[in-house]
């Protein structure tokens, strides 16, 4: 099970700049669908990457689904050279995204976030409309049901 509260508290208390997206953002907005991982867009500045690496290092990050024993090093160079990482950690499944289709980078998404007070910390979550937009842009058939639910949530909210 992914420990969402611990992961969010960990990154917030370490000063990591991130935006919650994906299934967890959908849950925050009212989705009843099950999601198993935490998807975060992280800011790709050298300072933020250093904070991210230091914060997660004690939790044994490793490439999810990869065979054991690969020479994967969780360090700043690895993050700088890559962009999006699907990880397993001792706190659960975590996707760290430098960019998302239809959304761009952390800085691009900042205009469409909501601030959440969550588990004792403040964090940023992608706004509902932008979340729908991003999921539509991904164009994955597996997301159709999720998009339909998110749009229904938007309609319910607008109805008040």
């Amino acid at each position: 099970m992914t420990n969402f509260p611990e992961l969010i508290r960990l990154f917030s208390s370490s000063g990591v700049e991130f935006i919650i997206i994906g299934g967890m953002a959908a849950t925050a907005h009212g989705s009843a669908r099950l999601t198993k991982d935490l998807d975060l867009v992280y800011r790709r500045t050298p300072e933020n990457i250093a904070r991210l690496v230091a914060a997660l290092a004690p939790y044994s990050p490793y490439l999810r689904g990869a065979p054991p024993g690969l020479p994967f090093r969780w360090d700043e160079t690895t993050i700088q050279r890559g962009l999006n990482f699907t990880l397993v950690t001792s706190l659960g499944a975590l996707d760290l995204l430098g960019e998302v289709t239809g959304g761009g980078s952390y800085d691009d998404l900042l205009i469409d976030v909501v601030r959440l007070q969550l588990f004792g910390v403040e964090c940023l979550c992608l706004g509902l409309e932008r979340l729908i937009y991003v999921k539509r842009a991904a164009g994955r058939p597996k997301d159709f049901e999720a998009i339909a639910e998110l749009e229904a949530i938007l309609e319910e909210r607008q109805r008040g």
């Binding site: 967890m24 849950t27 925050a28 989705s31 900042l110 909501v114 601030r115 969550l118 937009y133």
Partner: protein
């Protein structure tokens, strides 16, 4: 902070899927706080993992 308006044109495929969305679940969820929604999700995750474990250990009936 959502500052600018995003226009979402209706998509016929999504509209077709929308007919099957259970809006009663959405309305119940919207009554909860964000923390309560995430706690519910974690309980559901735990239940799903327990079901998967039981499924793996299940033996066929003779």
């Amino acid at each position: 902070m959502e500052k600018h308006k995003i226009t979402l044109e209706p998509d016929p495929v999504i509209e077709a899927y929308k007919k099957d969305v259970d809006r009663t679940l959405i309305r119940e969820n919207l009554k909860l706080t964000v923390e309560q929604r995430i706690e519910d999700l974690m309980r559901l995750q735990q239940f799903a993992e327990e079901l998967q474990r039981a499924g793996r250990q299940a033996k066929p009936r003779r």
